[in-house]
């Protein structure tokens, strides 16, 4: 126990009022005298700093400060809070705050909105990539119903997670002043619940989607050429592509790496009941936010290319079938493999009406 050597100020007890008998008063005076004598002695002793230093309970050593700073607790560390294993000072908290507020937050915003601006610029300067040859009207099955359903579920969840995630990071600057506390309280609570419950569902479905697509996304030599030619934009010549082109494969592997990292770190944040430490959650948050904002920015490119940017691409993911010409122009190696499987529009309609899921599973290997 670290006992005091300096006495509490005003240490003399106050005398009781009223029925103070003479004798009692005398005793008090005597007591006060004794006490004050004692005090002056102590004070005299303490006036000598060196003496005080040798008798006082030791002060706090540089070693202890180092211990506090490092957050290390050791076997003789005690914390009177029931379930607490916290160190005295959480010195990484400030680092986390700096990284999140100074770097992740502003640069995340720049990444997402910068990407959107770049895409808009590209659209106005270069414009949509139209089909060069006329459509033949013969169709090829590209996405089975199962995969389309999976893709759109994952995509919807991704968009909700990106919007709610960004609300957690930036919402207070926009919506609180805009809507006032009443609506903001409701909105941010819903945001967290949506994000925290849809996150794990997204995680599971993304893994299923990734597994079901891995065969088509093994990198090949021609993918490298595809990149060097900027996907056909440099040299204005068609570049080889299998079922998935180089760009699609890059997006796949980004999701398979960064996406998994975002999901894993999301799980760490989502379930604080596994005794993971504050430090772990700080790191998880940074990894999660950087990965998620990066993916959000790049997903804008994916969305642009799949919709506005390329004539004929969206049809494949909505209807399941693409035109022969589109297949030839965008995925020539795949086209070579499946060109004998083209169907007329009537044949496709007939197949769909007889139950869309009985589509052949054939089609891709390259």
């Amino acid at each position: 126990m670290n006992l005091l050597t300096a006495q509490a100020p005003g240490g003399v007890p106050r005398s009781g009022k009223g029925l103070a008998l003479g004798i009692c008063r005398f005793m008090l005076v005597a007591l006060a005298l004794v006490l004050s004598l004692g005090f002056t002695q102590v004070a005299a002793a303490q006036a000598d700093p060196d003496r005080e230093m040798t008798t006082a309970a030791p002060g706090i050593t540089a070693d202890q400060w180092r211990q506090v700073r490092s957050g290390e607790t050791g076997p003789n560390y005690r914390d009177s809070r029931a379930d607490s294993n916290y160190s005295l000072i959480n010195s990484s908290g400030e680092t986390w705050r700096e990284i999140r507020n100074r770097w992740v937050s502003p640069f995340g915003l720049i990444a997402v909105f910068g990407m959107a601006a770049l895409i808009a610029l590209f659209y106005f300067i270069v414009g949509r990539k139209e089909l060069e040859a006329p459509r033949t009207g013969r169709l090829l099955l590209r996405w089975t119903l199962m995969k389309r359903a999976l893709h759109w579920t994952v995509a919807t969840l991704f968009i909700i997670l990106a919007l709610t995630g960004m609300t957690l990071l930036f919402g207070k600057f926009v919506f609180r002043p805009l809507f006032g506390d009443g609506i903001w309280a409701w909105m941010i609570a819903a945001t967290k619940v949506l994000h925290n419950y849809l996150g794990p569902i997204f995680g599971i479905l993304l893994v299923i989607l990734l597994v079901s697509l891995i065969k088509d996304n093994i990198p090949k030599k021609h993918d490298w050429v595809w990149f060097k030619k900027g996907g056909g934009m440099i040299g204005k010549k068609h570049v080889d592509a299998g079922f998935a082109n180089g760009g699609e494969k890059a997006w796949y592997w980004l999701l398979a790496t960064v996406g998994i990292l975002v999901i894993a770190s999301g799980f760490v944040l989502d379930f604080p009941n596994f005794d993971q430490s504050r430090d772990t959650m700080q790191w998880a948050n940074i990894i999660h936010a950087v990965g998620a904002l990066g993916l959000t920015a790049i997903s804008l490119g994916h969305i642009y290319i799949g919709t506005l940017g390329t004539e004929g691409a969206l049809e494949g993911m909505t209807m399941g079938y693409v035109d022969e010409t589109w297949a030839k122009e965008h995925h020539n190696l795949w086209y070579e493999e499946v060109k004998d499987q083209t169907l007329s529009e009537q044949e496709v309609a007939a197949r769909k009406s007889s139950g869309g899921s009985s589509e052949p599973s054939a089609t891709r290997t390259s």
Binding site: N2, A43, R78, N101
Partner: protein, 204 residues
């Protein structure tokens, strides 16, 4: 305006946990939450020392800076309070806080955190009525002109609460009285070079 601060004089704290008990009692905080804690370093060793910790009502409060809902605010007295109606229990304030002050009742599924609770400097919080305030945040002694109960109850007056200037003045007196060259805080190897007791005595 006052700038309210706590200070714990580690050379006086005897690890009695009176402040912890006083706080629990004053604020009627729920089961599992303990706004103040006493930390002892090197228990049982010669250099043992204890210090009472709770929210320190930081000037540049990290909790305030990272909260996604922006539910913290600072009173005119420099006390950091938060609005439980806005809090979503994300835990960010806890990641950032230097003192481990924010705590969460675990009331929901999957270990989801409930609404954050922390020391209010016995200043309550935002509410429609006194009853609601007491229910959500505990007592508002500041409104009654009283200081936090933890410091008021501290038997050795190790834990001080009040305006920063007053707290500093009391501590400075102690430093002068003890004659510690290093300001009673540490065995500062620089002690002889910068004699804090001397500085304190001459700064007035």
């Amino acid at each position: 305006m006052a700038q309210m601060k706590f200070m714990c004089d580690a050379e006086r704290c005897i690890e009695c946990n009176g402040c912890v008990t006083a706080c629990k009692n004053a604020n009627d905080v729920e089961w599992g939450i303990q706004r103040r804690r006493v930390v002892t370093l090197n228990d049982g060793e010669a250099d043992e020392m204890s210090i009472s910790v709770a929210c320190m009502h930081c000037d540049d409060a990290p909790c305030m800076a990272v909260c996604p809902t922006d539910c913290f605010y600072k009173t005119d007295d420099g006390i950091v309070l938060h609005d439980k109606d806005l809090c979503i229990g994300c835990g960010y304030c806890l990641y950032a806080c230097p003192f481990g002050a924010p705590q969460f009742p675990q009331q929901d599924a999957f270990g989801e955190r409930g609404k954050m609770d922390k020391c209010t400097f016995c200043a309550g919080g935002p509410a429609e009525s006194k009853e609601e305030e007491y229910e959500k945040y505990g007592s508002n002694r500041i409104a009654e002109g009283k200081l936090p109960l933890c410091a008021e109850m501290c038997s050795t007056k190790a834990l001080l609460a009040g305006d920063a200037q007053d707290v500093a003045d009391i501590f400075r007196q102690r430093v002068v009285h003890r004659g510690h060259k290093d300001g009673a805080w540490s065995n500062n190897p620089q002690a002889s070079a910068d004699n804090l007791a001397y500085d304190a005595a001459h700064k007035g």
